[in-house]
Each structure stands twice: as C-alpha cells, then as structure tokens.
C-alpha cells in the first residue's frame, strides 16, 4: 500500500507541478486564444493531480490538500522537467510536448492496470493528454518552421529541456513491486521518442545530442526550482493550518 501511494505520488506530483507552472502562464500567453488553451491544459493536469493525490491520500490517511500543501519539496516525487522555471513560450511548448508524449504512453499503458481505480483515472487522462500533445505538436511545427527567430528559440528551448527527458523513463524498483499495476517507465521510452522525433522532424528541429542529468525527483532529490515554487503555492494554506477554504 505504501508502494501504491508512492507510485500515485509520482504521477500526481508530476501533474500538479505541471499545472502550477501552466498557471503562471495565464494572463501571460502570446495571444488570448492561448491563455484559454493553456488554461484548459492546466485544468486537465490539475484534475489528474487531484484524482491521483486523492487516491494516494486515501491510502496514506491524508486528503489531497494535505498532500499538496503540507509536504516539503523533498517529499514531492515529481521529475525535474516539470519544475523548471516558466521560461518563454518555446519552453512551454517543448515541455508540453515532451511530458505529453511520455504521459500519453504512460496513461495508455495504465488503462489496463490491475488496479481498477488507477485504470479509470488513466482512461480519463489519456484522452486529455492526447489533446495536449496535439496542441504542443501544432505549436512546435508552427514555431520550428516559422521565422528564423522562432526556429532558434524552439531549438534553444529543446536543447534546454532535453537533458531532463531521460529521467521520465528511468527504471525504478518501485514499479517492479507493483507488477501488473504500475508501468516500467523504461518501456515507454521508445514509443514516446518516436512520437517526439516525428514532431521535431516536421518542425525542422534537431534532436539534441546533449548529456542527460542525474534527476532524482522520484527519490526525494527535487530540482532546486521546486522549493521556491512551493513557497508561493503553499504560502496561504500554511499560514492558516487546519482551516477550510
């Protein structure tokens, strides 16, 4: 049960932290239509986070808000990629594409999880995530194959994000303990990379040749960006411990 809760935190924290970063985009998007679109995607991710954290919370005897607001950064289990600072719109598009392509494979595989509740969450999430990837892919192509500046910005953003991609697919003993329930992240890598590289090809972008970074998000070694992000996210809830909102 502790393993299951831990696994739910992996997925839930990735979704929550992604949603929090997208929340920073609202009122800052390059056009109003995109404020709406990024808001939608953020809401989907937040919905996924709530379903996953609520489930984890039931196993741990805490509710979704206790998990979101009263854990420190070292207790979060998200990968580093999702907590990178907001950056420019190219960064947003690239991360949405990379995280989306991973999530698409992840949730597709989890629809057949032996844990029915998780399978149900995945079945809802997969539809949402497919749309997110489509949306990101559309922008990647427009910007990659747009102007010289947009091409350069996209390639730079891709180079910045790429070293963080591998962590998503790192194998981990936890998924072995959850055989039939969880998915070995390593098995998602090839199909996700196929999806990504197909988009990058169309976008006239080059797959970076950069080294991966160590990661460690799944094991309580969060990125340095998570702490300041949580400081803001949690400030009000923590100022009124035990209050209802």
């Amino acid at each position: 049960m502790a393993d299951m809760a831990e696994y739910l935190l992996w997925l839930g924290d990735d979704a929550l932290v992604s949603a929090q970063r997208l929340g920073e985009w609202i009122t800052n998007a390059p056009e109003l239509e995109e404020d709406v679109a990024l808001g939608n995607i953020g809401l989907d991710q937040l919905g996924q986070a709530r379903a996953l954290l609520s489930y984890a919370g039931e196993l741990l005897g805490r509710n979704e808000d206790e998990l979101a607001y009263f854990r420190d950064d070292v207790d979060f289990r998200c990968t580093h990629l999702v907590s990178l600072p907001r950056g420019d719109f190219a960064d947003a598009v690239v991360r949405l594409l990379l995280v989306g392509a991973y999530s698409e494979q992840l949730y597709a595989a989890l629809t057949t999880s032996a844990d029915e509740r998780l399978a149900g969450i995945a079945a809802k999430a997969i539809k949402e995530v497919r749309y997110h990837v489509e949306h990101a892919a559309g922008w990647a192509v427009r910007l990659g194959d747009g102007t010289d500046e947009s091409h350069r910005r996209m390639q730079d953003a891709l180079n910045r994000a790429w070293p963080y991609l591998d962590e998503l697919f790192d194998p981990h003993p936890l998924t072995d303990h959850l055989d039939g329930i969880a998915v070995d992240p390593a098995t998602l890598k090839e199909p996700a990379l196929q999806r990504i590289t197909a988009v990058l090809d169309e976008a006239t972008l080059t797959v970076p040749a950069t080294q991966r970074v160590a990661g460690g998000g799944r094991d309580g070694r969060p990125s340095e960006h998570l702490g300041p992000m949580l400081a803001v996210m949690q400030v009000l809830a923590r100022a009124h411990p035990g209050a209802s909102w």
Binding site: E31, D35, A68, F89, L143, R153, H240, W245
Partner: protein, 315 residues
C-alpha cells in the same frame, strides 16, 4: 432613408439589428465603444484574479479560479468578435488598450492583496456585472445580445463561487472571517460605482436607452444591486460598510449612503493603485508574444505557398 426607417422599425418593435443591417453611424460607434470596453474589461479583469492562481489555498479553489480566469479570456474573445461584426478590428482595439487609450472597467484597477478579494470580486464585482449585463441580453444588437447571454450564464456561476468563498471564510477561523469582512469593506463601494455615475451626470445613457442598448438607468441598476446584496450579506454573516444602509418600507427599497465619487474619478483618470500595472502587464505579455504571433503567420504563409505549389504541380 429606407435603411434608417427599417432600423427605427426594428428598434421600435424590440427586434434585433444584425451585422449586415443598416444602422446609424452613432449607433455603430456607440456599440463599438461599449463592446470593446467590455471586452477590455474581461481581459484586464483576468489579472487581479490571476494574481491568486499560484497561491489558491486548496486544489479545488485553484481549479475553480483557473477556470474562471480562463472563462474571462473566452468572454473577451466573444466580445471582440461581436465588435468585429461592426467593422472594428481586434488588432486596433488591442492597440488602443495597450496604448492606454481605451477604457476598461475601473474596478480592475483595485488590487487583490488577500485571498478574500477573490471571493469579494466574485460576489460583488461579478454580481454588479450581472445586474448590468442581464438587461444587455435583450440589447438591440444581435451579436452583442447573444454574447451576453452566454457570458451571463457563466458570470452567475462565478458569482455563486465568490459567494461560496466568502461564506467559507466567514464561517472559518476568526482570521478568515476578518479577511472576508475586510475584503467586503474594500470592494463594496467600488462595486456600486460600477453602474456608472448618478443618472444626472451620465450623458451617454439617454441615447443608449432610446436605442435599446441599455434598458435601465445607472441608478435603477444600482438600487436593484443593493437590494439584492443586503439579504446575501446577512446570509454570509458579513456587514456591508455603509452606516446609512436601511430598509425604506415606503420605497420598497434599501436606502444607502452617498458614494465618494472623487475616488472613482481619480481611479478613472488613471490614478488607481493598479492602472499602470494592469496595462503594463498586458503590454509585456503582448510584446513577449510578438515572435510567436509572427511565427504563426509566417508558418501559415509558408504552408499556403506549399499547397499552392503542389496544386500547381498537380494541374
């Protein structure tokens, strides 16, 4: 002349004017002004609430707030489209906003220092907006009326959500209750001023009413709003900050105190706490997004050229 008379006939018969119908120039200009101001208000209004998206105190409230701010972007989009049917261009309207030349509702120049402000904006500001806007669902210009129907539906959700936030705070810890009361203290008078100056000082109103764009006077709407607020405030367990507020059995309405219009005018004149910040925020987002919009256009042009070329190749 036949156009003019057909316009008059439609107005007199409480019918709808549609984009291709002839209409007096003044009517068109007045509508463009009103609709674009309304659109700008939705867009600028995203900011005081957007200010709390990253800090919303529960995931439930965060989701509601994100959805609300996103709805406002959507409202802005409908309204710009409605204005476009009158021949205004979105680009021009946006540029006027960024240049600080266009008006938007002054209420969004007030800041949101606490979470309770999100409740107060929902309850009071959206509440006032609904009072203003429900009659607009019957406005004589079709695209505007239809946009308002959709917008009003969503606004009434927003108002209920604001009420709920305040109710939860009011019934929460003493500190939470105080946050709620303090926010209501700050937003009450500005929300009453959203209906515009007293009828005696409102030059545009008469014409708007004759054209059936506007259906009730500023003071009528303000009274309706106050009458609605009083019982809701009681339900909230919060006090409206007006010592002169009392039931007048003779009028069948609540009497209320004089408003301090000098502050309203200062904010309107650009001297509110956040006027500069709001326009600067929009300007920054617009400027930072320029490369994205240019790239999207460049890509569309490339794509069109390729399609044309391949069509030519096939021919």
């Amino acid at each position: 002349a036949s156009g003019q008379s057909s316009f008059d006939r439609v107005i007199a018969g409480d019918g709808r004017i549609e984009p291709r119908d002839e209409m007096p120039d003044d009517y068109r200009k007045s509508l463009i002004r009103q609709i674009s101001q309304h659109a700008h208000s939705e867009i600028i209004g995203m900011q005081p609430e957007g200010n709390w998206i990253t800090r919303a105190p529960s995931l439930h409230r965060k989701a509601i707030l994100m959805a609300k701010v996103q709805d406002e972007a959507g409202h802005g989009l409908y309204l710009y489209s409605a204005a476009e049917t009158l021949g205004a261009s979105r680009e021009d309207m946006m540029q006027a906003l960024l240049a600080g030349k266009a008006r938007y509702s002054s209420i969004f120049n007030y800041p949101t220092p606490t979470w309770a402000d999100i409740g107060a904006i929902g309850w009071l500001v959206d509440g006032a907006a609904i009072c203003n806007q429900v009659p607009l669902c019957r406005a004589s210009y079709g695209p505007y009326a239809r946009a308002m129907i959709r917008i009003c539906k969503e606004e009434s959700f927003h108002q209920r959500q604001g009420f709920e936030i305040l109710l939860t705070l009011s019934r929460g810890t003493p500190a939470q209750h105080e946050l709620a009361q303090e926010a209501v203290n700050r937003w009450y008078a500005p929300s009453l001023m959203m209906f515009g100056p007293p009828d005696a000082d409102s030059p545009n109103s008469a014409k708007s009413m004759a054209w059936k764009i506007k259906r009730f006077s500023n003071d009528e709407l303000r009274q309706r709003f106050v009458d609605m607020l009083v019982p809701q405030a009681q339900a909230l367990g919060l006090t409206l900050p007006d010592p002169d507020l009392r039931w007048n059995a003779e009028r069948g309405h609540y009497d209320f105190g004089e408003l301090d219009w000098s502050e309203f005018k200062a904010v309107l004149a650009g001297q509110g706490q956040c006027n500069v910040q709001r326009v600067e925020h929009r300007r920054r987002a617009h400027t930072e997004g320029a490369w994205v919009r240019e790239a999207a256009m460049a890509h569309a042009a490339k794509k069109a050229a390729r399609q044309q070329q391949s069509a030519r190749g096939a021919a």
